[in-house]
């Protein structure tokens, strides 16, 4: 066995696109019920495309258990949300009436945040449960991964760290990132081997440098622009700074991922390395967006042509009514047929755009990140043994019901 194992990704655009298109169509015609199976099948594809040392990962989740988990979550959420929402409404903090003065407007903004705040613990709870479920349904070399129960501990830690980050205007963001990731990593298992997150949260600070540049750029540019009375300078620096801020955010996430992956240890012996690059991810996102825009333009053009062709037919028929050919040639079915065709094309375009986003952005980023991970001291993995199955009664039902987590 090799001393180190490099992550490999074997997924291809074509097969995943057609899998997405097929399952999204089934989701559409079953009024959303198939979405549990759709998500399962796409995960199976992506997991099986990922491998280390030639051994593929495996996703063992099922659509059925997701449906059952969703039904379970509905019962809990029905009671919680129904009562919370009406209580908030009653106390006059409702979102439906129109504010008559500034104080009322302010109270309503407050009410929106309180409503969000009432759902926020549930969102965090759902996020942890979903990660635990995904981990428990992942296998490599036949051995299960797993995660200990700890969703509520995660909820109050996430709330506390989030508040601290908010109060300090983001200065303590690395602390939040580190401790929340450590909380989850320290509860993760591969077989009977435990993961551990070592390292210091302060080591994430260099990752914020581009965010700092962007903030300084906006601040200084605005100040200079105002003192020089140059709106061009203000708008220009704000625009460049905003773009830089977005890229800086991506840079921070990737920097934190690399640093924290390097500080992970499995079973006190197996080490990890990661060299994901911001430039590559930004390139993937930009080309992905270009592909989506291109496909949208082509799709709209095709729809336009179809509509023109069918209307042209109708125009021709209408002209023939007034012309020499006589009313016998009139055929209104052309326009109807064209309309149906355009509607079908429209639905196909929407599904195709979702598929393109998955294939051109999500899958390529996963591919890049997986290929950038290296496992050290790999022979130790042979000593790992199987762990018991996690029945996970609610699967990721809460995340499904609250609609978080996206496609995979």
């Amino acid at each position: 066995m090799n001393a180190t194992i490099s992550g490999e990704y074997h997924g291809k655009a074509g097969p995943l696109f057609s899998l997405y298109f097929k399952t999204a169509f089934l989701t559409l015609i079953t009024l959303g019920i198939y979405r549990f199976w759709a998500k399962t099948r796409i995960r199976k594809y992506i997991w099986s495309a990922t491998s280390g040392d030639g051994d593929s990962f495996e996703y063992t989740g099922t659509g059925l258990e997701k449906l059952l988990g969703f039904l379970f979550a509905i019962v809990v959420l029905a009671i919680y949300l129904g009562i919370v929402q009406m209580a908030l409404f009653y106390f006059g903090l409702n979102l439906f009436t129109e504010p008559r003065n500034d104080i009322e407007a302010l109270a309503q903004v407050g009410a929106i945040y309180i409503t969000l705040l009432a759902v926020l613990p549930l969102l965090l709870f759902a996020a942890y449960r979903a990660r635990r479920y995904k981990t428990a349904r992942t296998r490599w070399r036949g051995l299960r991964f797993g995660m200990d129960n700890g969703a509520w501990g995660y909820v109050w830690r996430a709330l506390g760290h989030g508040l601290l980050t908010l109060i300090t205007l983001g200065i303590l963001l690395p602390r939040q990132t580190f401790w929340l990731e450590k909380y989850m990593t320290d509860r993760m298992w591969y077989g009977d081997a435990k993961f551990e997150q070592s390292g210091r949260w302060q080591s994430l600070y260099p990752g914020l440098k581009h965010v700092l540049f962007a903030v300084l750029l906006i601040g200084i540019g605005t100040a200079l622009g105002i003192s020089a009375e140059s709106p061009f300078l203000v708008i220009g620096s704000a625009f460049v700074g905003y773009i830089w801020l977005i890229v800086g955010g991506v840079y921070y996430r990737i920097y934190a991922f690399n640093v924290m992956t390097r500080a992970k240890v499995l079973d006190g012996a197996v080490t990890f390395d990661s060299g994901a690059r911001t430039g590559r991810v930004v390139w993937i996102v930009l080309t992905g967006i270009a592909a989506i825009i291109g496909a949208t333009i082509v799709g709209v053009l095709v729809m336009g042509l179809v509509l023109m062709a069918s209307l042209g037919l109708s125009f021709g028929s209408v002209a023939s009514v007034f012309g020499d050919a006589g009313p016998g040639d009139f055929d209104p079915s052309g326009g109807i047929l064209g309309g149906i065709l355009v509607a079908v094309l429209y639905v196909a375009l929407i599904l195709a755009l979702g598929g393109l986003s998955l294939v051109m952005i999500t899958q390529r980023i996963i591919g890049h990140v997986v290929s950038s991970v290296v496992v050290g001291n790999a022979p130790h993995l042979e000593q790992v043994r199987q762990r018991a199955a996690d029945p996970g009664a609610d699967a990721e039902g809460f995340a499904d019901a609250l609609d978080i987590g996206g496609a995979i």
Binding site: L28, R35, D55, S56, G92, R141, E382, Q383
Partner: protein, 375 residues
């Protein structure tokens, strides 16, 4: 047909490169390796299962059907990855159940139980708990809040009808206002009303009237124009006063607030979800206001009678309404928030037959002034 394949026993992370032999006569796939218990394993071909939706077409991951499993699928934990193209073809050809998904016994019952529980919980919430809570809250909500809320609802309605700024659609003329006040006083003089009524006329062709929380009542111009007698206007007003007194719109809005989130939860995740939620909410609202409507009708008839006003005007008005409705495409009854107009007209006519002496609500001059309030 002899090849090597990767084998993981599902208990350790140890990889074994086993020798593989397919024996169609004995219907088994034989795995041989010195480290296997007894050096050999026989996998029955009809129990072979391949993992689904795999990204790699150059390999086939096999496992065995299990009779019982704590995992989500009914399969064993051992895995066998075959790389040889010929072997993959042979296994695919000779094993008929390779792609089968085995489902544990009792799964259907489990799904139905959970489905029943979920539907039940939602139904109890929407049809029992939320209405009960809304009913209680509507009674204890402070009156100032109800009034403020009702006023903002009236403003929303005005904007919906096309009034960009507050008050632009509200009609007022000295004689019209006086007539409206007289009409209101006649009705409420004999039947006490707990709320300070704030009655306004909105300049729009729609034949409608509505009551918002806190005594806010709006008569729309189209309705006053359609009325043949002052008693018809009085009847509609009495009906809306009944809604105010019964706090119907307060209760309805509270309940809608609670059920909106719930319905969004269940239906929200697929294309067109928002429309489905809006539809479902509308149906829900209609179904419970119908009872309230019938109650308000009864209250209105009594109020008219107490004031010595004939309820015949009510009947006439419903007759003209059903004329309008017959032009429109037929709406199913459960979709309309009012009881069927013909039935309501009959009820009002029957009631009128039992009434004693009555007096007109307004004289001709006053009624003309009311009709011209928006001019």
């Amino acid at each position: 047909m002899e090849q090597t394949a990767r084998y993981f026993d599902g208990e350790t992370g140890l990889r074994l490169d086993v020798d593989l032999a397919l024996d169609p006569a004995a219907q088994v796939l034989t795995l041989r390796h010195p480290d296997l218990p007894q050096g050999v394993q026989h996998w029955p071909m009809d129990a072979l299962r391949a993992l689904a939706d795999q990204a790699r077409s150059d390999q086939l991951v096999l496992t065995l059907r299990a009779d019982h499993s704590y995992d989500s699928g009914l399969i064993e934990t051992a895995r066998l990855t075959v790389f040889d193209a010929q072997m993959i073809r042979d296994i695919t050809r000779l094993c008929p159940d390779l792609r089968r998904r085995d489902v544990a016994k009792g799964t259907a019952q489990k799904v139905l139980t959970r489905l029943g529980l979920a539907v039940g919980a939602l139904a109890v919430m929407i049809f029992v708990i939320l209405p009960a809570m809304a009913g209680t809250m509507a009674l204890i909500i402070p009156i100032e809040r109800e009034v403020a809320w009702g006023k903002s609802m009236v403003r929303q309605m005005e904007r919906f009808m096309g009034g960009d700024e507050a008050g632009t659609l509200i009609c007022s003329s000295p004689a019209g206002d006086a007539a409206l006040e007289k009409l209101t006083d006649r009705l409420t003089g004999t039947t006490g009303v707990a709320y300070d009524l704030n009655i306004s006329v909105m300049n729009h062709e729609m034949v409608n009237a509505f009551a918002a929380p806190g005594g806010q009542i709006v008569l729309v111009r189209g309705l006053i124009e359609a009325a043949v007698t002052p008693e018809a206007v009085g009847a509609v007003l009495a009906h809306e006063i009944a809604h105010v007194e019964n706090r119907d719109s307060t209760r309805g809005a509270l309940r809608a607030a609670g059920s909106a989130g719930l319905l969004g939860l269940v239906l929200g995740d697929f294309a067109g979800g928002t429309v489905a939620v809006a539809m479902a909410e509308w149906m829900l609202n209609s179904s419970y206001t119908r009872e309230a409507e019938a109650e308000a009708d009864l209250y209105a008839l009594t109020m008219l009678d107490n004031a010595g006003v004939t309820t015949r005007g009510f009947a006439d008005f419903f007759d003209s309404l059903s004329d309008i409705e017959s032009i429109m495409p037929d709406l199913p009854t459960y979709m309309s928030s009012h009881p069927e107009t013909a039935a309501r007209a009959d009820a009002a006519r029957d009631f009128a037959a039992t009434q004693g002496a009555t007096e007109p609500l307004l004289n001709d001059v006053e009624f003309k002034a009311l009709k011209a309030i928006c001019d």
